[in-house]
């Protein structure tokens, strides 16, 4: 791993008693936690455990009802928005546009005028930048790959992924997991919410278990050696 | 029709509307208070 000589690098995410209500329902029930940089966290839990809500709050899409959050050293998430990548449960892509048209538009939102950035992002997830097909005609696996490309397009330090492998065939999912591992190795912090823990076993640094709106346990993965075997 | 009828109607409308509105608020208040008590007792 990259040389983090000091024992406790400042946390990327610091959550203090985070609570989120939807009407009378408490989706997050007092989460306090801190997460170190350069690691790949896999968030597990049943439906309704609050995984997606947590991700949305961290991404700045939702205001927490109580508690505070500090992201990359900032209190206001908008200030650090360019350094965060978010991939939602839905694809977050326009069906009527082609893959490159989508990426080009989103790159524009981050002030990236260079087409090559978008092309590289597509290649990284194993898609052909010159594919003229519109996203509406993509297969589910291709959509998820493109969605991942959109999330990491602007080279964010913190990447939040909500169910990136849903409806994706095993082969594609393994590819995507490997991509995530490589991105982590570049020193990025990654959160993956998923049901398919097995897919992430080779690359995860820590499993975070959630239940009923709280973090119930965190299991660090002891890496036997540098993960040579998992990279085909 | 005599104009007095209109005068009466106007005053009746005003009284009825204000009192009905008052009663509505009070009844809703009662409902909220009962529900609050139920909630506290349930704990």
């Amino acid at each position: 791993m990259a040389g983090t000589s000091e024992p406790h690098p400042p946390p990327v995410i610091l959550l203090d008693n985070l609570v989120k209500f939807f009407g009378r329902f408490a989706a997050l029930r007092g989460i306090s936690a801190s997460f170190a940089p350069g690691r790949l966290y896999v968030v597990l839990g049943d439906n309704g455990a609050g995984k997606s809500t947590l991700l949305r709050v961290v991404a700045g899409l939702m205001e927490p009802s109580q508690g505070s959050i500090s992201l990359l050293g900032a209190k206001r998430i908008r200030e650090v928005a360019p350094r965060i990548g978010y991939m939602g449960h839905a694809p977050l892509l326009y069906d009527e546009l082609s893959g490159m048209e989508n990426l080009r538009y989103f790159a524009g939102l981050y002030g990236i005028p260079d087409d090559e950035v978008s092309r590289n992002a597509m290649r990284m997830v194993g898609l052909d930048p010159d594919l003229p097909r519109r996203v509406g005609q993509y297969s589910q696996g291709m959509r998820q790959r493109l969605s991942l490309a959109r999330a990491v397009l602007h080279d964010p330090e913190l990447i939040l992924l909500d169910e990136p492998f849903s409806n994706v065939d095993v082969h594609s999912a393994r590819d995507m997991a490997a991509v995530l591992g490589r991105v982590r190795d570049q020193g990025k912090t990654i959160f993956v919410v998923t049901h398919q823990a097995a897919l992430m076993e080779d690359v995860a640094d820590e499993f975070v278990h959630m239940a009923a709106g709280q973090i119930v346990s965190r299991d660090e993965v002891v890496r036997k050696s540098v993960n040579v075997g998992s990279m085909r | 029709m005599s104009s007095i009828a209109f005068l009466k109607a106007a005053y009746i409308v005003a009284w009825a509307a204000y009192l009905a509105y008052l009663m509505r608020i009070l009844l809703r208040m009662k409902k909220v208070e009962t529900e609050m008590k139920d909630l506290e007792r349930g704990k």
């Binding site: 949305r56 991404a59 700045g60 899409l61 939702m62 205001e63 908008r78 928005a81 360019p82 965060i84 978010y86 939602g88 449960h89 839905a90 694809p91 977050l92 892509l93 326009y94 069906d95 009527e96 546009l97 048209e101 538009y105 989103f106 524009g108 939102l109 981050y110 002030g111 519109r134 959109r150 | -």
Partner: protein, 224 residues
């Protein structure tokens, strides 16, 4: 990355998507056509009478048609939840609002250009006052409807039965603008009065409400 650049790219993206699907413009056009036809059944005026009522008919028809387009404003952003991708980006929220408002403005102006000849034919309309004034009124009035409509469509995203919510909150607030458009149009068509007051009123309305929309849009967009 300025507001204007993002506004431009977002607007171009919307126009390209609209060009490919033609959802909004087609439904809006057909709807307006229906309204014109039904109105001309319901009222069968002489050329003289039609000058008196045309202002009202035209603008009510355009208002209803505009609501059809406005309701679709955010539909595309909600499908696949693409709006979230905009919201997590550092792009200014007002750029999104301006792009949507300008897009709707263009749609409704196109609709007006296509529909006005029909009104002229069905109602034997001929303006006695200067036609350029009609164009000024149309542009100011359309922006008045569209700027608030775009904002209220965004408000309606977070309501139940959102399609019906939009006209319910848009129409009452738009009454002075509608009154201005109708009266100005009638006074120009009949040539009996000057529309100056109404043009000024529409201009004030546009400025006031554009300012309020830009002040409040970020709050509304990020409320979740």
């Amino acid at each position: 990355m300025t507001t204007l650049t993002v506004t431009r790219t977002t607007l171009l993206k919307d126009l390209r998507m609209e060009w490919r699907s033609k959802d909004a413009i087609n439904s809006m056009l057909f709807f307006a056509l229906l309204v014109v036809v039904i109105f001309s059944f319901a009222f069968n005026p002489t050329a003289e009478e039609s000058r008196m009522i045309a202002g009202g008919l035209i603008w009510v028809a355009f208002l209803f048609a505009a609501v059809v387009a406005l309701n679709q404003t955010w539909a595309r952003e909600l499908r696949n939840q693409v709006l979230d991708a905009y919201r997590v980006s550092p792009a200014p929220p007002n750029a999104l609002f301006l792009a949507k408002a300008i897009g709707n403005f263009l749609f409704v102006v196109v609709l007006e250009c296509l529909m006005t000849p029909l009104f002229v034919i069905f109602y034997e309309l001929r303006s006695i006052g200067p036609v350029w004034q009609l164009i000024v009124v149309a542009l100011l009035g359309t922006w008045a409807l569209v700027v608030n409509g775009t904002f209220f469509a965004a408000l309606s995203i977070r309501t139940r039965s959102r399609e019906i919510m939009l006209p319910l909150i848009l129409f009452p607030i738009s009454i002075p603008a509608l009154l201005g458009m109708v009266d100005a149009t009638t006074s120009i068509l009949t040539g009996e009065a000057t529309p100056d007051f109404w043009i000024k009123l529409l201009a004030v309305y546009d400025i006031v409400f554009t300012a309020i929309c830009l002040m409040l849009f970020e709050t509304v967009l990020n409320a979740e």
